[in-house]
Amino acid sequence: MLAFLIKRSANAIFVMLSVSFIAFMIFRFVGDPVELMLNEQATQEQRDELRNRLGLDEPFIVQFGTFVSNAAQGDFGISFRNQQDVLGMIAERFPATFELVIVATLISLVAGIPMGVITAIRRQTWYAEAMQFTSIIGVSLPSFVVGIGLILIFSVWLGWMPAFGRGETVDIGWWSTGLLTHSGRMSIILPALSLSLFQITLVMRLVRAEMLEVLRSDFIKFARARGIPARAIHFRHALRNCLMPVVTMTAMQIGGLIAFALVTETVFQWPGMGLLFIQAVTFVDVPIMAAYLCIVALIFVLLNTLVDITYAMIDPRLRGAEK
């Protein structure tokens, strides 16, 4: 077990080092920071002085080392555009993205699990077939198109919900939440729905496949023979055995959702980290781009590693057999 832990952690650290190398390379590729920070009248001496102060005259590997150790301490420098601390800017936007992702995940579970069960136990009926068919479409629809469609129907034509922004927010400590006000709750429905659509179909397909597998097993046959009502068999006994993979997949997908939320945030002008990143891309604000990449990759890698380790703790067969 200890060997497995060390191996997984080493793997995660290797990935994070590679990601920070990519982030570091963006700095090198996109222009000379000295030219970006000084105006055109600056003398050669001023340039050299700044170059020296930023550590840009050091060897490449030393610069990379400095970048990594600063990043590990949360210091990603200041934004080129508005001269604020990058980490602070991202932290300020984090609650918006996080709430969006959590609500989307909840929607996907609440909608996806029953749909998966129904398509598995009522396989031949027209509504199960229809759900199966829609799920292919659900996987294929681009999430920004779904978002635009929702805005068009529910905001422009029906006028039920706001099309952009977060509504009113309440501050609890440093966390600003939109879930406690009416306008905040109304605002989160459409973006969360459009973010969760893909996820719903994933959950549904997974639950369906697992249910079909479990329903074939002996203990279900035995329960049937004992005369336990079908409802109890399906929901109490069979479904319970399907939930573990669903939980795992959901946990692993959260990292992906945080990254993918940037598309949804752009459509709905949702003031989260993703929108900040897209704006930074437009203005080539490299420190924000690099910091966002590192932070999202960190969340992604941490979640995956945690899930793997938890799995190995539950299922000892996995400890030896790592690819």
């Binding site: 294929s140 629809l141 681009p142 635009i148 990254a259 459509v267 990449l293 990759a297 995956n304």
Partner: protein, 318 residues
């Protein structure tokens, strides 16, 4: 008189053309019996045909600025009040015909999709073959690179590569280079999938007797890999390629929608949606709606074909 033995009649082996073989195959049978696969193939065929006939079919060349008439701006579709021929689906704010824009845009989307699938396929298959055949450090390095790429969300990689590369392009290359950058940005991620599939299969194949035998007669490694092992690894590659084609179109559309993809003067479907999105609240919903529908039709058709192909080629499901 000596008997001349009558020549034995040569039994002509029944040769069947490739065409006959194809129409007799399991694959074709499975295709014929799947309504959704047939439907998807017909729709996809029509979409591709229309896109490649765009110069003939479309009433207007959307790139020709002289053809734009501003007094025809923001016309609604023809079946609504105020709509007029030949602008069947209406016009955008510059008087550009929506239908023509869609046809040309689909062409760009399909082109980028195909190109990125080809690039990632070639790179992935070669990497997978090499890694699986030689093993050792080559295998380790290639697969580690793949692992790292897959542990970063795809959309981030694509956005970063495409925006950074565009910033680095010299201005005179920017027009022509963007499509190439997009193709590479998408391929950078998707080659890993082919590489993994081919590697796993190669590792199985290289231990088989026909490979050993062919090695004994001195077949060079390159020929062994490309002529003997490669054909036996291709089935899962086809499935992955179809599904990746849909994914590539989606990513390109997303990048263009976010503003790091195709520019407005060479719009793909994603760019058209990005531009149309700005007029969502002005009541001109058709500018954004029709390109969106076309994008959905295209991706849904490709994915349904891919889904069918995966099931049809899966020996476990036969």
């Amino acid at each position: 008189m000596t008997d001349i033995p009558a020549p034995t009649p040569k039994i002509k082996p029944k040769t069947r053309s490739r065409r006959e073989l194809f129409f007799d195959s399991d694959l074709w049978w499975s295709f014929k019996s799947s309504k959704s696969a047939m439907g998807a193939a017909i729709v996809l065929g029509l979409v591709i045909l229309a896109a490649f006939l765009a110069p003939v079919l479309s009433p207007q060349n959307p790139y020709d600025l002289a053809a734009l008439e501003l007094w025809n701006a923001e016309l609604p579709p023809v079946w609504m009040e105020g709509g007029q021929m030949p602008y069947i689906l209406g016009t955008d704010v510059q008087g550009r015909d929506i239908l023509s824009g869609i046809l040309y845009g689909t062409r760009i989307s399909i082109f980028i999709g195909i190109a990125s699938v080809l690039v990632s396929l070639v790179v992935g298959v070669l990497a997978g073959l090499t890694a699986g055949f030689y093993g050792g450090w080559v295998d380790n390095v290639l697969m580690r690179v793949g692992d790292v790429l897959l542990s970063i969300p795809i959309i981030l990689v694509a956005i970063l590569v495409s925006s950074v590369a565009q910033a680095m392009l010299p201005p005179e290359l920017r027009e022509a280079g963007i499509a190439v950058v997009l193709v590479l940005a998408i391929a950078l991620y998707s080659w890993v999938q082919y590489a993994r599939v081919v590697r796993a299969q190669t590792m199985v194949e290289r231990r088989k007797e026909y490979v050993q035998a062919s090695r004994l007669v001195g077949t060079p490694a390159r020929r062994l890999m490309l002529k003997h092992i490669l054909p036996n690894t291709l089935t899962p590659v086809f499935v992955a390629a179809t599904l990746n084609f849909g994914l590539a179109i989606l990513i390109e559309a997303t990048l263009s929608f976010l503003g790091v993809g195709m520019p407005p003067n060479q719009p793909s479907l994603g760019t058209l949606i990005r531009v149309g999105n700005q007029y969502l609240f002005s009541g001109s919903w058709w500018i954004v709606l029709f390109p969106s529908i076309q994008l959905c039709i295209l991706v849904v058709a490709v994915n349904m074909l891919g889904d069918w192909l995966r099931d049809a080629l899966n020996p476990k499901l036969r």
